[in-house]
Amino acid sequence: MDCEACTDLQLDLLYQELAEPRAAEAQRHIDDCADCRAAWERLVRGRRLGGRLAPVEAPAPSASLLAAIAAAAEKHRAAPPAPDAGGAGAAPVVPIDAARARPSWMRRLGEMAMRRQVAMAAVSIMAIGIGLRFVPFRSPTQPAPPVESTAPAVIPATELPRAQPPPPAAEDDGSAAAARRGRAAPAYLGSTPVVAARQPSSHAASTSPLAANARLAQGSAPAAAPAAAEESPADERNNAVGGLQLQREVGRGGGAASAGGLGSANLGSAGSAARGRSAVDALRSPVTEGTYEAQQQAPAAANVPMQGRDSAEPDLPRDAPAPLAQGWRAHRDQGEHRRAAGDLQGAITEYQRAIDSAPDSERRALAVTLEGLLRQAGRVDDAMRVRGQYVTRAAESPAQAESVPQSSNVRPTTPTPRSSPARPMAPRPSRRAVTNLNDSTNQYGF
């Protein structure tokens, strides 16, 4: 017997499970082999020590268990189980572990799936996936997406381009707005770093630095672009709603400007730098209806003198964000301008837009003017509809019942989606529905 065979038999020998001829043979090898004897001694001493543990007396079976046994025995006595089919041919008891065993391929697959490496790989893939979710993919040959982060980045002033085409009016106005907030930092050409908004878009990337540089070249105003760019992201978010609203209005204003040739006057009448900031937002956002028009309008608005735009709206508080009511006032002013020029149709259109974007408290007055314009244009039916929809409805409300006389020839009002007080969040009609007054399908019923 060699050592390997002896090692295999030592436990059987220790627990008397080895038949006598083999046991004697193994014992002889142990006596002759020092290594096997040492291993054997370790086993004997280990069993001697471990086996010294006195067994604990098991508790007596509980009464409930004895009752269950008696009940089961009674049940078996009443209906004895069928004898096994021949005993030897019967299926053996399968250990529970074996009974629970799955097919080998499934077990192998399960073991593989439970390995540590698989878990680590899964976590790594998840981490990479989550990380890629926040990494903007940008091909070197393609421009970056137009709307991205506005986190400030430090750009040395020396790297700003000296000679640039006229900056977009939107950014210009945004700079003025920031300057009016009193947070403008002088950014003279030199080594002073200028904080500018990081613009992934190639179009928008030239806004803040270009605006600052152009103003420096003109020498007419301190560079306010850094201050504009110093706006915290929180400020951007605070102005986001207003920007979205004004962006639509600017877009419509741009559309009207392209039709009437009054683009600069349109923005100039509103005259606010906050409006300019909304134009920046319009350039950044690709999702709204007025984006294209705003982009078309921005270069035209750049021709408006800075001083004129700054002084065009003295009633606005300088530190306050741009009010939402700017849009309807612009349309109202535009309408007045067109009416003075004799363009009744244009005035009607502008007043209609003013009503569209005005708060509920202002609509009635605008509707009265619009009604007059429609009557002047000979569109009596449309005038009556406007009266019925806005003037009469307002008069019917208890708050205005005393100031507005009830008209005797009021047409029944038609329900419109305009009744919602949450004006900025209400679903807006399409631009076509607003501007095409001759379309019988628009929301006003004419």
Binding site: D12, G50, V56, A58, A68, A72
Partner: protein
């Protein structure tokens, strides 16, 4: 238990129970309860829990007696049920730890340790107390074994199951079971070697 029943194999007693003899099953319980209880107790390390699991083991055997095949071995079945219940319990409960050998015997941190007591045979030490402490140390050594080694050691040492039957219970090859047993004995020898003389002295 009558002399006739004492020599009846487990399977015969179970068959009698299946025919309505409740006392046959009580004889079965009497025959296996100590071994099963010690196995369960050393596995779950709590006597109350061990008693509960033992009762549950018998209940399951009673409920499954009607499906038992006579060609099978009762002890294999019973130990398999007990082992599975212990595994279920171990998955749910945190294992208790026994005090270290170097920890004081009482709450007084300056008191003698078991090691001090055993190293001073001339001191007026109660041999019974030392024996109990040694029992506790052996129990701790057994409970410190890895699960697969401990269950094989307990089945072989206290359940007197042959290695082939242990292999059926744990669902592993017989050679694997023997390897686990060898590792278990060697670990016990290493951990308890310094108490070997005292164990001999205590008899």
């Amino acid at each position: 238990m009558s002399a006739e029943r004492q020599h009846d194999p487990d399977e015969v007693l179970l068959e009698r129970f299946r025919r309505g003899d409740a006392r046959a099953f009580e004889d079965l319980m009497r025959r296996h309860r100590n071994a099963l209880f010690n196995f369960i107790y050393r596995s779950v390390r709590n006597p109350a829990t061990a008693e509960e699991i033992l009762q549950d083991t018998w209940l399951r055997i009673v409920q499954g007696a009607g499906d038992f095949q006579r060609a099978s071995k009762f002890s294999t079945w019973a130990w398999t049920v007990a082992r599975n219940l212990c595994i279920d319990h171990a998955r749910k409960a945190a294992l208790r730890r026994h005090p270290s050998l170097d920890a004081p015997l009482k709450r007084d941190e300056d008191g003698p340790t078991l090691l001090d007591s055993l190293r001073d045979p001339d001191a007026s030490v109660d041999r019974a107390a030392v024996s109990r402490q040694l029992q506790g140390e052996i129990a701790a050594a057994i409970e410190a074994l890895p699960d697969d080694q401990r269950e094989v050691f307990l089945m072989r040492e206290y359940g007197c199951l042959p290695f082939k039957e242990i292999a059926e219970v744990v669902g592993a090859p017989e050679n694997t079971v023997k390897s686990r047993m060898r590792y278990a004995l060697e670990r016990l020898q290493e951990r308890l070697a310094e108490y070997e003389d005292y164990a001999k002295a205590l008899g």
